[in-house]
């Protein structure tokens, strides 16, 4: 980032380049609509100025075909842009399956990130270039919004639900990362640095970051410490769902619905266990809301995600 005038944001991803193309095309469309309007208003105001002798015969009041066409044609053009833009949007909403998942906690007024290997950062985020990254985000208090202008992506982080956002950065560099939803006093300074690093740089950063264990390993420790295995282990006397292979599986609930066990489901099961009860089980699980810290919840979720059924080969 230099100190002089900047008129266009940096492009850090393929999506950014595609969006810029879209915007430029749309701007041309806007100009094609605006310029004639401006010109005509000006020209008519001059040409038909009161007192000027000019042909005012046959002034029309109504031409239905004209009215319809100047409504329909721009509308159809706009629909073309709609299709283009919506397809870009669908891409943003459908992450690939091989994403690097990083957990983000937003709170007044900082961004906390935890990498799968356990590395943590505050108000900074390091990611490797060319690798699809998915951010799994929680808010501790109010609504925040994770935004990196250079990537052209943002997602509101709403308390009480898990929000996610994916991207693939193509250009190493340091970019601005901000909070884009007004969140109180220090909203203006809730920003940070977003580092896109080459594979080597990223590996170096990972290893130099102080970390005791990966997130999942920390989660495993907590799973035993807080007695989860007491009910959820296969040998337990208590009838509790088996968690192996749970992540990504369809779960039938007592209400009759079926849901997919994603991060939100796992997190809710720990903090709001009465919210969705698995079919065939009693609602006897206590809540751990006032027992676990937010980062401990993240570690547990990471651990449960990592559990594969015994028949699968562990990578």
């Amino acid at each position: 980032m230099n100190g002089s005038l900047q008129l266009w944001p940096q492009q850090a991803s393929g999506h950014a380049a595609q969006l810029d193309t879209f915007i430029m095309a749309f701007t041309v469309f806007v100009a094609l609509l605006v310029i004639p309007v401006g010109v005509l208003v000006f020209v008519f105001a001059v040409k038909y100025r009161r007192g000027k002798t000019v042909d005012r015969q046959h002034a029309p009041n109504r031409k239905v075909w004209l009215e319809v066409s100047w409504s329909v044609v721009p509308f159809l053009a706009a629909l073309g842009f709609y299709v283009w833009s919506t397809s870009l949007f669908f891409e943003l909403r459908n992450p690939p399956s091989d994403t690097l998942d990083i957990f983000i906690v937003a709170k007044q007024w900082m961004w906390k990130a935890q990498h799968p290997g356990g590395q943590r950062e505050i108000d900074e985020l390091h990611i490797p270039v060319g690798q699809p990254v998915r951010l799994v985000m929680n808010s501790q208090d109010v609504i925040h919004s994770f935004y990196v202008p250079a990537l052209r992506v943002k997602q509101d982080v709403v308390p009480g639900r898990v929000s996610s956002l994916w991207f693939k950065a193509d250009k190493p560099g340091v970019y601005w990362m901000t909070c884009a939803e007004f969140c109180g006093t220090d909203h203006s300074v809730m920003g940070g640095r977003f580092y896109v690093q080459t594979a080597d740089e990223y590996a170096a950063w990972l290893s130099s970051s102080g970390v005791d264990q990966s997130l999942a390993a920390s989660g495993e420790v907590l799973f035993r410490k807080y007695g989860c295995s007491g009910c959820h282990a296969a040998s337990s006397a208590v009838h509790a769902p088996d968690l192996a292979g749970l992540y990504g599986r369809a779960v039938a609930l007592t209400s009759g619905e079926t849901v997919i066990a994603d991060e939100q489901y796992i997190q809710d099961s720990i903090l709001l266990p009465q919210k969705q009860i698995a079919a065939g089980y009693e609602p006897i699980m206590p809540t751990f809301k006032n027992i676990l810290r937010d980062d401990e919840v993240i570690q547990l979720v990471a651990y449960i995600k990592s559990l594969r059924p015994a028949s699968w080969r562990v990578k």
Binding site: M1, L19, P60, F89, V158, E181, F182
Partner: protein, 543 residues
């Protein structure tokens, strides 16, 4: 050439302004014309309060470090700016001043349907204003004008309840005005004033009144719920207690999107009047314009989700709202083309009112098309909650609605006061406002695309040039808004008497003296001619 004040004319002596001099006669009036003037005073005061907040904001933004105001002070400044400008200026501006003054005159009625409810709506407005001033003086509100939960219910530190009460009360003021307009237009049209002869200003205020009546109660209810939550701790919007912050957003935008049409539809109505009068020509496409107002009002209720594309709304819902938001742009486009077609082969006089109309057309088209840009999902993901959105809505609200308000002021001032103002100063003001506006807000489109978020007063230094340009424009704009205070007030004593129809325009309001007497019409008018019945040279053109 008279020295000093121009003496009172006979029509002034008999006018509504002179029917009772005491303060009490004004504060207990049921005359729609006087109530309009009361509103004019009140909204002007709030316009300047909101303007001072804007000045503080632009001054603070001239430097990247947020040196002028503290973080909390800045948050309070933009909250005040938004709350005051939206609810205490824009929403009542044209309807409560020009709507109140002109609707009965335009349809040939002696007053609105419910004169005392009209006065009640003004008192509610003033009461709400007092609550707002209390919140401001006591220490301010720092939630943003949108009051998003759970920030406003659980975390905000200001006088939120007072501000919410103010908005709840002013909502009732809006509802009463809307109700009054609808019943008036249905029941008090003079003989011959059919729906097909109504001035388009009346059509647009009718559509506005529909929105006022249907949308405002939803906001009222929502803010009552927020107040209760804030004061008692129940958790409708608190996820820890089973609530949902997004429920707030759905209900809020269900009102607030139609609310922006409350702000802009009356401006469209004004434009139709200004353009026809300036061009001395019948409006092009009367029914297309009339029905497009209704279409905007209806479709406007179906697009609220476009404020929530990145808030957690489903992909499918977002796609639907995006499509509908594109659809709502079509009727607005129709109006603009029709006004331009009206100018074609007209006989155009470049009076200040028309210059404001020209400014409106240019600025509204840019604002509207950038709105279309925002309706495009992938674009919105990037520029939502950035200065791009700020620029878009200021182009429509300020470049559009406020400009139209000033156009209306310059057009109907002679009718309301009986005096003509200095035309040259009027033209200078129109030019200054147009130039100052563009300089203030065009750089903000660029800032937004660069990623400058809203509600930030600290930003990267490479954005500073654009911000300085914007703040410089704001100072020009401020001069433009202050000038009319001087020459319009000056005209009250020193302006030339205006006569009943200084612009040579059609419309029943121009058939009564300026200013009108307390009783609008000595005899009930009977209408036989179509609207905008200017001389048409070609007998072949159809009605």
């Amino acid at each position: 050439m008279t020295v000093g004040a121009t003496l009172e004319t006979p029509s002034e002596r008999a006018s509504y302004l002179r029917a009772g001099y005491s303060l009490r006669s004004w504060l207990t009036t049921t005359d729609h014309k006087r109530i309009a003037v009361l509103y004019l005073y009140a909204i002007t005061a709030f316009f300047f309060i909101g303007g001072i907040a804007a000045a503080l904001i632009r001054l603070d933004l001239a430097t990247p470090g947020g040196d002028l105001l503290s973080n909390e002070g800045y948050n309070r400044a933009f909250t005040l700016h938004g709350v005051v400008m939206v609810w205490f200026f824009l929403i009542p501006s044209i309807p409560a001043t020009f709507g109140n003054f002109l609707i009965p005159l335009m349809i040939g009625a002696q007053d609105l349907a419910f004169p005392r409810i009209n006065l009640a709506s003004w008192y509610l407005y003033v009461l709400a204003g007092l609550f707002t001033l209390y919140a401001l003086i006591a220490g301010g509100v720092d939630t943003g004008w949108t009051f998003y939960t759970p920030l406003s219910t659980l975390f905000a530190n200001g006088y939120v309840a007072a501000a919410l009460l103010a908005v709840i009360i002013v909502g009732f003021s809006s509802i009463f005005t809307g109700m009054n307009f609808i019943v008036t237009v249905h029941k008090l049209r003079c003989p011959g004033m059919t729906w097909s002869r109504l001035p388009l200003f009346v059509w647009s205020l009718y559509a506005t009144a529909m929105i006022l009546v249907l949308a405002t109660p939803v906001l009222t209810m929502l803010l009552i719920l927020v107040c209760i939550e804030r004061l008692s701790g129940i958790g409708i919007f608190n996820p820890d207690l089973g609530g949902d912050p997004l429920l707030y957003q759905h209900l809020f935008w269900f009102y607030s999107h139609p609310a922006v049409y409350i702000m802009v539809l009356p401006a469209f109505g004004v434009l139709s009047e200004l353009v026809t009068a300036a061009a001395r020509k019948r409006i092009f496409g009367y029914w297309f314009i009339a029905y497009s107002s209704v279409a905007i009002a209806v479709i406007g209720f179906l697009v609220w989700g476009h404020h929530m594309f990145v808030a957690g709304e489903s992909t499918y819902a977002s796609a639907v709202f995006s499509f509908l938001s594109i659809a709502v742009a079509v009727p607005s486009g129709i109006k603009v083309y029709n006004w331009i077609a009206t100018l074609y082969k007209g006989s155009i006089s470049l009076d200040p009112a028309f210059l404001f109309a020209m400014g409106f057309i240019g600025l509204f088209v840019i604002g509207g098309l950038t709105g279309l840009m925002l309706a495009m999902l992938a674009v919105d993901v990037h520029v939502h909650d950035t200065y791009f959105v700020v620029a878009h809505f200021h182009y429509i609200m300020v470049g559009g609605a406020v400009t139209a308000f000033f156009g209306a002021l310059h057009f109907w001032w002679p009718k309301i006061t009986g005096r003509m103002y200095n035309i040259t100063w009027g033209r200078i003001t129109a030019a200054l406002i147009f130039l100052g506006f563009n300089l203030t807000f065009f750089p903000q489109f660029i800032l937004g695309y660069l990623g400058m978020p809203r509600r930030y007063h600290v930003y990267p230094p490479e954005f500073q040039v654009l911000h300085v340009l914007s703040s410089a424009g704001a100072s020009i704009l401020a001069v433009g808004y202050l000038l009319p205070l001087i020459y319009l007030l000056y005209s009250l004593r020193h302006g030339q008497p205006a006569g009943s129809n200084p612009w040579g325009a059609t419309g029943l309001e121009w058939t009564v003296p300026s200013p009108p007497p307390k009783q609008n019409f000595a005899e009930m008018p009977v209408v036989t001619r179509p609207p905008y019945d200017y001389p048409i040279r070609d007998p072949m053109s159809r009605e």
